[in-house]
Amino acid sequence: MSSGTRTTPFAITLDVGSSRANLTGSWRTERPQYARLTAPCGAGCPAAEDVQQWLYHAEEGGYEAAWRRIMERNPFPAISGRICYHPCETACNRAQLDAAVGINSVERFLGDQALAKGWQIEPAQLLGTGGRVLVIGAGPSGLSAAYHLALLGHHVTVRDMAPAAGGMMRYGIPKYRLPREILDAEIQRIAELGVDFQLGAHVSDLIAERAAGGYDAVFLAVGATLPQRTYIPAGSAARIIDAIALLRNAEDGSAGPPLLGRRVTVYGGGNTAMDAARTAKRLGAEESIVVYRRDREHMPAHESELMEALQEGIKVKWLTTITEAGAGEITVERMELDEHGYPQPTGQFERLGADTVVLATGQVSDLSLLEGMPGIELEDRVVRVDGNMMTGHPGIFAGGDMVPAERTATVAIGHGRRAAHGIDRWLRGETGNPEWGLHDSASATGVGPVPQTAQVPFERLNTWYFSDAPRTVREQLDAIRRTSTFDEVVLGLDEANALFEARRCMSCGNCLACDNCYGVCPDNAVVKLDPPGAYAYAFDLDYCKGCGLCAQECPCGAIEMLPEPI
């Protein structure tokens, strides 16, 4: 009934929906605004993976899209999905709700899917502007740099002393953690981008090599392969070997299986110590004991590695140092921690049977090829670099274990990528991001740090909306079987579990299109956009009264309330 022909009573009877003439937006003192913030997983990822974003695709079953999002940052999803110590999960806000999202296992699922389905990365069109870059070292850092440089359109040559690419991923990480066909397959993908691999090749004079090859830039990623010697008084009959040597030997097998004897003592408390102890067991040692000078709380090895080792029958002697090694036995001293957590001798000694002592007390980088190079600055036996990973020598970049950072494959992968972008910018004459420190997290773009204000603390989330869904624990090989073989210990998730796990993501700081804001607005002031624009929704400020319910009830903390501009 239009008002023109109205026969209805004046004023008492009204046309429907006529209140739209009353613009209640004028009541507002605060206005909501959608935000795209950095989730802690992404901020915590040394490889700068935008974890939340790839989980978003995985949640909807878009596995290839998810994988491609990972591949934008990290060429090794299947590898990282196995060996990464997943700081993303440590940072994951869901850990404060029930258990962190099993990001790592989803990553592995995606990486394995890619290998199974043969998903490929299209090589970049090599542009005339592409530079020539020499990468020294085919470990995670060097390979990552090579991959990103290739995608940025540069000619890349990777050189490594070892007969096969992979660096510590091949020669330091045992097969039972990283099957070699996975490693090979993900490296092969990089080779297919046109990267030139020169293996078994040593570089001794860097400046000469650079000039001879006409390389515009060099990325150094030689790792830390030299054992850091710990002095142990030892008799001539004592058998002492390095963990790195043990692991390398177990890998290439060219020298035959290492002769360890019945009882093996591994000295050290890091992940290498765990790997060495578990490898020793697989090589036939009946008794594999880790001797560590501090306690469990102070142990640098990752909890998961320790747990798996303990399950396999590895024993750990805490608060103990080896004071002397002899034939078939060692002398150890009991330690106690002082108030600063440092071990102090107690003078209590005992003897332990040990046919072999494996030293896993750290590694250092072989920096001999940098000797005499102008501008190179060392810091605590590693090379100082800026936020673009460039050393003090123009055009010489470095990353991975040879620069001051945590020594993990994932950190190295991140370095490789930062270096690739740094090199690319440097080749184009740009100065980079001086404000970006080496240890700052990468922002969503991956080429700059995360602003503090863009991070999402747990309190910002409204976790009520997330189903109670404890994480899916990956299957593990039966302990007895695994101690005698190098079969992969931790198995992957099947699709249902991977999907479940992906859907546990709380999408911190990023809209997951749950429609809550659209639903909870008492003023119908949230508009659902079809197709979505920058966001899936928009605020109708003509009617929004600024109550803040949308922000409060946003599960993800992706809505901010800002003071209304006056």
Binding site: M1, T7, L14
Partner: protein, 417 residues
Amino acid sequence: MFEQIEGSQAVARAVAACRPEVICAYPISPQTHIVEGLSRLVKSGRLAPCEFVNVESEYAAMSVAIGASATGARAYTATASQGLLYMTEALYNASGLGLPIVMTVANRAIGAPINIWNDHSDSMSQRDSGWIQLYVESNQEAVDVHLQAFRLAEALSLPVMVCMDGFILTHAVESVELPGQEQVDQFLPAFEPRQQLDPEHPLTIGAMVGPEAYTEVRYLAHYKQMQALDLIPEVAGLFEQRFGRSSGGFLRHYRSDDAGTIVVALGSVLGTIEDVVDELRDAGEHIGAVGIRTFRPWPADEVRAALAGAKRVIVLEKAFAIGIGGIVSQDVHGALAGLPISVHTAIAGLGGRPITKASLRQLLADARAGQLAPITFVDLNHALVDAEIQRMLSARRSGPHAENMLRDIGIVGAGPV
């Protein structure tokens, strides 16, 4: 077709012939026989389609009628006395919303003291409720006016109250000509609501209106009711044309054309008055009567015309406004403003007290003798109230106003003014 029938049953039959679609019923004497009759008609299927809703109160009765009417159904209910008061809030709402509900009020006194017998206190208390109020003199007129009420209500989109004297009419069995269904169907067109709750054409009914428009809304309500002053005689005329008898309209004139004294009254008492008029006419007095059939809206022009030739008007009322006096009298005064006519109020028949011819003759004799007070309480037991007043006065001295008023109505020692 004439039938010997109780007034209530006749009304039930008349209402049923109007094909109401929703009837709300809550028992209160003396209205109950009407809805009982309708209940039987609905339950037996003789009145269909129709929903007969046994509600839990008169407030609910009117509220259900409001909902039904707003949904486009012809809605009817009946009540009396306390019931009418209990639905007061809803009465104003029904008229404010402009819903054409028809309701029979079987007029009855209101308490305290509780009294089930007839007077007009109930409906008179609702004269400002925005409802059209029609008063009937006989059961035949009750039947006829209900038919007209539905037509009026729906034409104007206003609720109509048909007031008939409780017991005197509702419970009286007499010969009534009941209309045939076909006749009624021809007289009463189908209900076409001005506004309707309809999902096809949604509307908001019952908005809140503030100072910016409330006056206009009330003015328009008044204007709308005043339109009935055109429509009521038209409908009555149509009725007479179709049914061959005169019923309804504004006034009933009884030998009043040349009367020097005219008695004005509402409802069934007119029959007694007319008998007395006849007797006094036979005795040579110039006396007549005028019955008010339409009390709201107030047909002031017609009242003035009807009474203009008289010297004396006595308004006989079955209700009064405590603290001032007559109710209808005030309106008659207003209608006669400027004319040299003395208007007297006679309060009679309260709480069912019979109004006898003897009492009326006495009243008129007093008038003829110039001894009629401005307000007379017919058949008041003076001895009783005087004694009670003396008792009250001895206990606590009342103020001069109360005494003056009592003096005015002839209770405290004084003679006629």
